[in-house]
């Protein structure tokens, strides 16, 4: 049994009076891939953003390898938000890949990669460039070092974004619909890279509509609807023989 990498307990997230996550529990073991599926607006992105402290939460707690994320426990049993600097420190160990890639448009591919480790003094310039070359080769983007993101296809941008997220050697990778903005024929090139990472033992949380990927790669699948976890379990259970009507209804629509 491997150790718990990510654990979210009783997460409550509100935007104004609107409750977007109500009492969500979620757990990923080290080295495993966990897929999150669900209809649009069900709170999948919000959950991912809470895991990375990009959102403040109204209830519950997120832990990465046991360490409380985003907050400091106070003596009275409450929580106090961490300083921006401390939040940034915690985020160093979590990589994130976005639907819209979010590469820095004013930097070349290699600058996108080396930016964080050099600015944060994790690696010297030459070491970072060497590291970048390794990762670009892993994602099949060798030779594009000097290109600007605008000159790359969506699939290429997303592969660079994955390499960029890997530069900080994160212990966990979060993916928010990494292939949803891609042309159909570009989807597999990104999924292939993600499969490679999964095989290499990366701990990954993947929000996706690619059920084929979930079936093939995921150790766990979580189905969310209306801000709550409806069903969670192995891909065979959740995707193969779902127990809940809502899951069934969703799957029949997606397939």
């Amino acid at each position: 049994m491997s150790a718990v990498a990510v654990s979210a307990r009783g997460i409550v997230k509100r935007f104004g009076s609107r409750t977007v996550l109500s009492n969500v529990d979620f757990e990923v073991l080290t080295g495993q891939v966990s897929c999150v599926i669900g209809p649009s607006g069900s709170g999948k992105s919000t959950l991912l953003r809470c895991l990375n402290s990009l959102e403040e939460i109204e209830g519950g707690e997120v832990r990465m390898f046991g360490e409380l994320q985003g907050y400091l426990p106070t003596p009275d049993g409450g929580y106090r938000r961490l300083s921006p600097g401390r939040l940034a420190e915690q985020r160093e160990q979590v990589g994130m890949v976005f639907q819209n890639f979010n590469l820095f448009p004013h930097m070349t591919v290699v600058q996108n990669l080396v930016c964080a480790p050099t600015l944060l003094r994790k690696e010297t310039g030459p070491a970072a460039r060497e590291h970048a070359a390794e990762l670009l080769s892993m994602v099949g983007m060798t030779g594009y070092e000097a290109s600007y993101p605008a000159h790359l296809s969506g699939g290429q941008q997303q592969r660079v974004a994955i390499a960029r997220a890997m530069m900080m050697n994160p212990r966990v990778l979060l993916f928010d619909e990494p292939t949803s903005a891609l042309d159909a024929e570009r989807v597999s090139e990104v999924l292939d890279v993600m499969k490679k990472l999964a095989k290499a033992g990366k701990t990954m949380v993947v929000v996706t509509h690619e059920l084929g990927f979930a079936r093939e790669v995921a150790n766990d699948v979580t189905f969310m609807d209306e801000g709550a976890v409806v069903e969670a379990g192995s891909p065979a259970e959740v995707l193969g023989s779902p127990k809940r009507d809502r899951t069934r209804a969703f799957l029949s629509k997606v397939l």
């Binding site: 940034a88 979010n102 003094r121």
Partner: protein
Amino acid sequence: MTALRKPYRSRWEYAGWAAAVSFSALLLLSVVTNPNFHWEIVGEYLTAAIIIEGVWMTLVLTAVSIVFGVLFGAILAVMLRSPSSILSRLALSYVWFFRGTPLLVQLIFWFNLAALYPTIGFPGFEINATHLITPFFAAAIGLTTNEAAYMAEIIRGGFESINRGQTEAASSLGLRPRHVTFRILLPQAMKVIVPVIGNQTIAMLKNSSLVSVLGVSELLHSAEIIYGTNYQTIPLLIVASIWYLAMSTVLSVAQHAVEKVYGRSTNRIATVAQVSNGA
């Protein structure tokens, strides 16, 4: 051999040109031949030493107030966006005040600051305000502080034009807030900001003439000094206008050149290309 192809032109366009050219010619003729304009006086003073000095002073004031206005405005913009409510409210009040009162009034206030506060500083270290606040100092401070309020809004707008995903991507890498602001957002905001700064500079060129009321010998004041003695008001205002037009023409051309550079490489900004060196 390809046949020569001409673009479509409306008959009305030819008619419009004919009308515009003849009207301009007549207007020019009437202006040039009207003895009341005293073109010989215009020619005499166009390059007079005092006028040239005035041109220099106008350029200096414009440069100083734009450069410091941008720097101060950038600080204010960062404060406006700051999560700290003290900082953002301070900046907001500043912008509110300096955009909400006339520049002319602000200039006169700075000029008279010595009357309000004869000494500036704290016990043990006091400066005589009357010595510090020369007309030039009052003019430079007045123009800069006013410009900074506008620049703050311009720069904030530049920041706001950037997709929120950029901040999130940068934060998720563990970059600290200062890196996010200065390495990720600012260079991208520049693309929006730089052309507007060009506009502001051209506006400042002419707004700086307001400081003539403080007796700073910029271009308009130089012209005033001359027509105060020879009463040739119109010819000297023409002299000043010719110089203002010349300066703003040069600036417009420069602005278009800069915009072209930014337009050509929509996604390349040279100033930050050095991040890879870990600078």
